[in-house]
Structure formats: structure tokens, C-alpha cells
């Protein structure tokens, strides 16, 4: 298997607060990793470092063979290969659903408008909101917005998808529709790193589980082992509370 993401001894500080402590992580192509942990444990910071929405101060982050640091000139190129879905959707409210999806392919990947619209419709169909294409984000439900955000990221045809608590801002009823789309994506062979508390989803799709606490990776294990016999006490405690 090919390594597509590699983190070596990554440290990150927000002023004096250390958010990531000596994080080491390898992700293979088509691997699905679910990261869980209490709030403030550095899960989001970790995946946001992978597309440099946050800057790490020490260590190496290598994405698809390119190291990410302040010297990276074409960080936009790497970001174009790494899709991200946010907790708050972050759709562009001034653009229609279709335009949300075609904007980046047209301007960043220089795709012809027609082609971009085809790709967008294909992806919108995939997340089952093709009928909403002409509407604006403000007119959609939370679940539909999040699926649109997923489609928008997929339109860039990324190699890796990052999910930063994609269902935490949703009504319970809408969580399933988003998770369904994500399961579908996982089955299609996408490399995924997902920060979530949806343990049902984790059991279904994750190859590996990571538990983080206080900026450290406390435990990394195969999904089955992680749930059946967690090694550290901290993980046990967390799982007992969440399950």
C-alpha cells in the first residue's frame, strides 16, 4: 500500500498552549481512519494541519509526496487534492448550490464551465440533492447543506477527504442522510480521515481508529480491536461514556 499522508513528530502551539504533541501518523491510500476523543484534544487541529488551515511549528507533514511547511510555494495545489468538509458546512451563501460546486473546478482546475457543471450534477446526484441545484444554501436543510458541502469537495476530485465533525451541527434526524453519503464514498475507495463521535459509522467503515487526548495520539488500533479490547484506560473510560 502507498503512503499518502505522513506525519512525523508534529508539534503545534497556539501561543503557549500546546495543541499537538509529537503526533506520528501514516495513512495509506484508500485507508479510512476515524479520529475520536474528548473536545479540546486536538483532533480538529490535527486534520486542519494536513491541509494547512493550521500551521504546525515542529515536525514534518508530507501529503502525497510533498512536504507542507511555510516554504511550500504551491500550497493551493496540495489543498486542491485534499477535500474538506466542515462542521458548519461553510457553503458560499451568495452562490447557488450548483455554483458552489462548479466555482472551484472552473477557477482553480480551469475546467470548462460545461464540464464542471456535468461533474457537479454527477456529484450532487451522488449525494441525492441534484433536485436542489438551483436553490441557494439558505433555502436548504442542514443535512442537505452538508451533503452539498461534500459534493462541492468531491467536485475537485480530491485524493483525500478530511471530515471535521461533519454531523455535529445537525439535527439527529439529518445525521443519517449525511453518514449514508459518507459510507457510500468510503465504499467507492476514497482515502478518508474523519473526526466524529458517530461510533456506528466508525464501526462500519473505519479501517483504523485513533483516540486522542490532550494533543497526543493515545491509541491507534484496528477498528475491531479498538472497540473490543482497548488498551489504555483513558480510551476505555471515553468509550464507556460515549457508547
Amino acid at each position: 500500500m502507498n503512503k499518502i499522508i505522513e506525519l512525523k513528530n508534529v508539534n503545534k502551539w497556539f501561543d503557549k498552549f500546546q495543541a499537538l504533541k509529537d503526533v506520528n501518523l501514516e495513512v495509506n491510500q484508500q485507508e479510512k481512519i476515524v479520529i475520536c476523543g474528548p473536545s479540546g484534544s486536538g483532533k480538529s487541529t490535527l486534520i486542519r494541519c494536513i491541509n494547512r488551515l493550521e500551521e504546525h511549528q515542529e515536525g514534518q507533514i508530507i501529503v502525497d509526496g510533498k512536504e507542507i511547511s511555510e516554504n511550500t510555494k504551491d500550497i493551493e495545489k496540495i489543498r486542491a487534492e485534499v477535500g474538506m468538509v466542515f462542521q458548519q458546512f461553510n457553503l458560499f451563501p451568495h452562490l447557488s448550490i450548483l455554483d458552489n460546486c462548479t466555482l472551484a473546478p472552473i477557477w482553480v482546475k480551469k475546467m470548462p464551465k460545461k464540464k464542471a457543471e456535468e461533474v457537479a450534477m454527477k456529484n450532487l446526484e451522488r449525494v441525492q440533492i441534484a433536485d436542489q441545484a438551483k436553490k441557494f444554501p439558505g433555502q436548504l436543510s442542514g443535512g442537505q447543506q452538508q451533503r452539498c458541502a461534500l459534493a462541492r469537495a468531491l467536485c475537485m476530485e480530491p485524493k483525500i477527504m478530511l471530515f471535521d465533525e461533519p454531523t455535529s451541527a445537525l439535527d439527529p434526524e439529518m445525521i443519517k442522510e449525511v453518514l449514508d453519503s459518507m459510507v457510500d464514498l468510503a465504499k467507492a475507495g476514497m482515502t478518508m480521515i474523519v473526526v466524529t463521535h458517530e461510533m456506528g459509522f466508525a464501526k462500519e467503515v473505519a479501517d483504523n481508529m485513533i483516540f486522542m487526548d490532550e494533543g497526543r495520539i493515545v491509541e491507534k488500533a484496528k477498528t475491531k480491536d479498538f472497540f473490543d479490547n482497548p488498551r489504555s484506560d483513558r480510551t476505555k473510560l471515553f468509550l464507556s461514556q460515549i457508547l
Binding site: 491541509n51 493551493e76 489543498r79 474538506m84 461553510n90 458560499f92 451568495h94 466555482l103 439558505g138
Partner: protein, 418 residues
């Protein structure tokens, strides 16, 4: 207010409504008689009391008819809308009485006692406004000192502008882009050449002769179009991560915001030429345009920065995560939203700009208000300041109100909420 022993209730409705109605009626009759017949029924009272008498009588009357759920629809409507408590009753009466008292004299001055016919000050015999003044000077108010024979050039320049702007509403979206480019980059040159002349067999008219309303339009339009992009870049500059750009922007904005426009204009006239190499000459009008543009750009920058500030961080992050660089992120995602948010602020700055144009009199350029100022000092037309300024004020109001309406329309049109 002291409690009146007998409380108006539903039971004695008729009595109280009749009594109250009569009192309110007396109040109104007093005010009407006072205004239109110049009769004062309450002259026997001390003058101050007499002045407020209708208000006092009316308030008591309104108190008496304030009966909740009276069953009479009209009465209930009056009570909820004008008469819900004593304070509201007084305020309602004050407003209505003031309208009755002051609107007729204003109308009289404007129309009924005003003079419209004639050609000299002596033709104005009424007590009202002397619109003859505006009529006689109208040409100057619009064209300034521009030679009469050449005024068709200004007319055609503006007709062309309006035609182009009008066309932009009707042409298909495909051509809109080209029309806009033409309007912003080609038209100004054509328009200016047409008005200033000196080529194509057109007689040269120096900018000192330009003036009146047409100059107001020229100065406003150029400053509006130019200050917007400059303000935008200053706003982005102020938020830049590069210290050199950030501090330059901050310095620029704070410098221009900190000085009065009149000083800036004065400097542009007196100081600026000193910095130029000998023999070079920059036209007065251009210097003024640069000064106003930069001045308003500083304000515009802060308005736009307000919009940038209001956007959630997530919008930046989403744009970045899709691989957009700084310029794409700002021009495709951030600015369209930020500018939409601050349309009221932008409109505000634009209105202020239009109303600041009269200040160019300090360098000797006379736009509409400046021409009025000049005309009123003409020995043949002394004492016409009121008419002149009211006229100028009305014209400015029309321009500004139109802009304000347009900005509100734009806000609605761009809204993506339901």
C-alpha cells in the same frame, strides 16, 4: 396627570365620546382658524397659554374618548394608533397640529404666492419665492460658465451616458460585460474629450469654465467610480499579512480620514503644484478629482473592511480548502459577500461624496451650489439666496434619494435569503 374622578368606561360611552369628540373638535377648529382665518379664539388668555390651548383641550378630549374595546371599530382604531396613552395623545396632536400650521405657509411660499413669470427681480411681486431667479439663471446652474453655443456637447455626453446605462439594463447578459467595460474605461475618455474639446474640430473649453450641475455630475461620477476600487484594495491591504502593505494602508487611511476635505482640496490647489517639476501643469479639475477620490477612498476602505470583518472565518477556510489562492478567494468568495453586506455603508459614503462636491469652490470651481452662491451675489439679484439654495437643495435631494433607492433595490436583488 391627575386622575379625573369620573373614569370614561364602556357604560357611559356616548356621553364621553360626545364630550371628548367636541373637545378634540374645538382644538382642531382653533388651530385651523388660527392658520387659515388668522382668528384667535383664545386671545383673552395669556399669549403662551393661548398658543398651547388647542393642545391642552385636545389632550383632555382624547383622554375622554380613550375607552378600550368600545365596540366601535373607528374609535378603537383611533385609540390604538394615535391615543394609546396620554403621552402618545399629546405627541399625535403635536404632529397633526404642526402639519396643519406649517405646511400651508410652506406651500404658499413655494407655489401659491410665488412668482414664476418674468425675467427680472422686479417681476417678483408676491410674498412667496421668486422662481424667476432660478428660471433666469437655470442655464448657468446647469452648465456653469460653459459657452452657450457649446452646451450641446455636455448634453450629448450625458445623453450618451444615460443611453448606455439604460441599455445595460436591457442587453442580454452576454454583452453586459463588454458594455460595462466600455462604460467604465472607454466612455469616460469620450465624454471628457467631448466636453473639454480641443480636438476633432471642437473648440477647447478650459475646466475653469465648467460648472453647475454638470460639473457636480462629472466630479461625483469620477470620484465614485475611482474611489471604490482604491477603497477595496486599501481594505484588503489593511488586513494583509505583509507588514509593509498593512502599515502603508493603515497610514494612508488614517491620514486621509483625519483631515477635513476642505484642507485636502486647498492643498491640492496650492501645495501639490509645488511638488511637480517646473513646467508641468496638472489641470485644477484633475487635482481636485484626485483629492476627492483619495479622501473618499479612505472612508470606503473602512466601510468595506467592516464587511470583511463580518464574514465568518469558515468562508475563508472553505475557499482555501478548495485550493483557492489569495486573489481568487477574495474576488470570488469574500468580496462579493462583504460588499453585499455593506451596501448601506457604501451608499452612505457615496451620498456623502456627492454632497461634499460643493467644497470644490475653494479652488475656484463652481458646481451647482457654487453657481447659486455666485448668482445670489449678482447686484441685480440680491436677496435671492433662499430660492437658490432651496433649488440646489432639492436637486441634491433628488440625486441622493435616487441613489438611496437604487442601493435598496440592489440589496433586495442580491439577497439570496428567501
Amino acid at each position: 396627570m391627575k386622575q379625573i374622578p369620573i373614569k370614561p368606561t364602556k357604560e357611559n360611552l356616548t356621553t364621553f365620546v360626545t364630550l371628548g369628540g367636541v373637545l378634540v373638535l374645538i382644538g382642531f377648529i382653533d388651530v385651523l382658524a388660527n392658520t387659515f382665518l388668522e382668528l384667535n379664539f383664545t386671545a383673552f388668555l395669556p399669549s403662551k397659554l393661548s398658543y398651547f390651548a388647542p393642545l391642552i383641550i385636545g389632550t383632555i378630549g382624547l383622554y375622554l374618548i380613550r375607552i378600550e374595546f368600545s365596540g366601535n371599530k373607528l374609535l378603537d382604531k383611533i385609540n390604538t394608533n394615535f391615543n394609546s396613552n396620554n403621552l402618545n395623545a399629546i405627541l399625535s396632536l403635536v404632529v397633526i397640529f404642526a402639519l396643519i400650521k406649517y405646511i400651508p405657509p410652506i406651500l404658499n411660499w413655494f407655489f401659491f404666492e410665488a412668482n414664476f413669470v418674468g425675467s427680472t427681480k422686479e417681476d417678483c411681486t408676491g410674498n412667496g419665492a421668486c422662481w424667476v431667479f432660478v428660471k433666469v439663471w437655470f442655464n448657468r446652474f446647469v452648465y456653469g460658465m460653459y459657452p452657450d453655443a457649446e452646451q450641446w456637447r455636455i448634453n450629448s455626453a450625458f445623453i450618451m451616458l444615460f443611453a448606455l446605462v439604460g441599455a445595460s439594463f436591457f442587453v442580454p447578459t452576454k454583452f453586459k460585460k463588454y458594455l460595462l467595460i466600455f462604460l467604465l474605461f472607454v466612455y469616460p475618455i469620450i465624454g471628457l474629450k467631448l466636453i473639454s474639446g480641443g480636438e476633432f474640430g471642437l473648440k477647447y473649453v478650459e475646466t475653469g469654465a465648467w460648472g453647475g450641475l454638470s460639473l457636480t455630475f462629472i466630479v461625483s461620477a469620477f470620484a465614485l467610480i475611482l474611489c471604490f476600487p482604491i477603497g477595496m484594495f486599501l481594505a484588503l491591504g489593511r488586513k494583509s499579512n505583509l507588514p509593509a502593505i498593512r502599515y502603508t494602508s493603515i497610514g494612508f487611511i488614517e491620514l486621509w480620514r483625519g483631515v477635513p476635505l476642505i484642507t485636502v482640496l486647498f492643498m491640492s490647489a496650492v501645495m501639490f503644484p509645488m511638488f511637480l517639476p517646473d513646467g508641468t501643469y496638472v489641470d485644477k479639475l484633475i487635482r481636485v478629482l484626485i483629492a476627492i477620490t483619495l479622501f473618499e477612498a479612505a472612508y470606503m476602505a473602512e466601510v468595506i473592511r467592516g464587511g470583511l470583518q463580518a464574514l465568518p472565518k469558515g468562508q475563508y477556510e472553505a475557499a482555501k480548502s478548495l485550493g483557492m489562492g489569495y486573489w481568487r478567494m477574495h474576488f470570488l468568495i469574500i468580496l462579493p459577500q462583504a460588499l453585499k453586506l455593506v451596501i448601506p455603508g457604501i451608499a452612505n459614503t457615496f451620498l456623502a461624496l456627492v454632497k461634499d462636491t460643493p467644497l470644490i469652490f475653494v479652488v475656484g470651481l463652481l458646481e451647482l451650489a457654487g453657481m447659486v452662491n455666485l448668482a445670489k451675489t449678482n447686484p441685480k439679484w440680491l436677496g435671492m439666496a433662499m430660492e437658490g439654495y432651496v433649488f440646489a437643495g432639492l436637486v441634491f435631494w433628488i440625486i441622493c434619494y435616487a441613489m438611496s433607492r437604487y442601493s435598496q433595490n440592489l440589496e433586495k436583488k442580491l439577497s439570496t435569503e428567501k
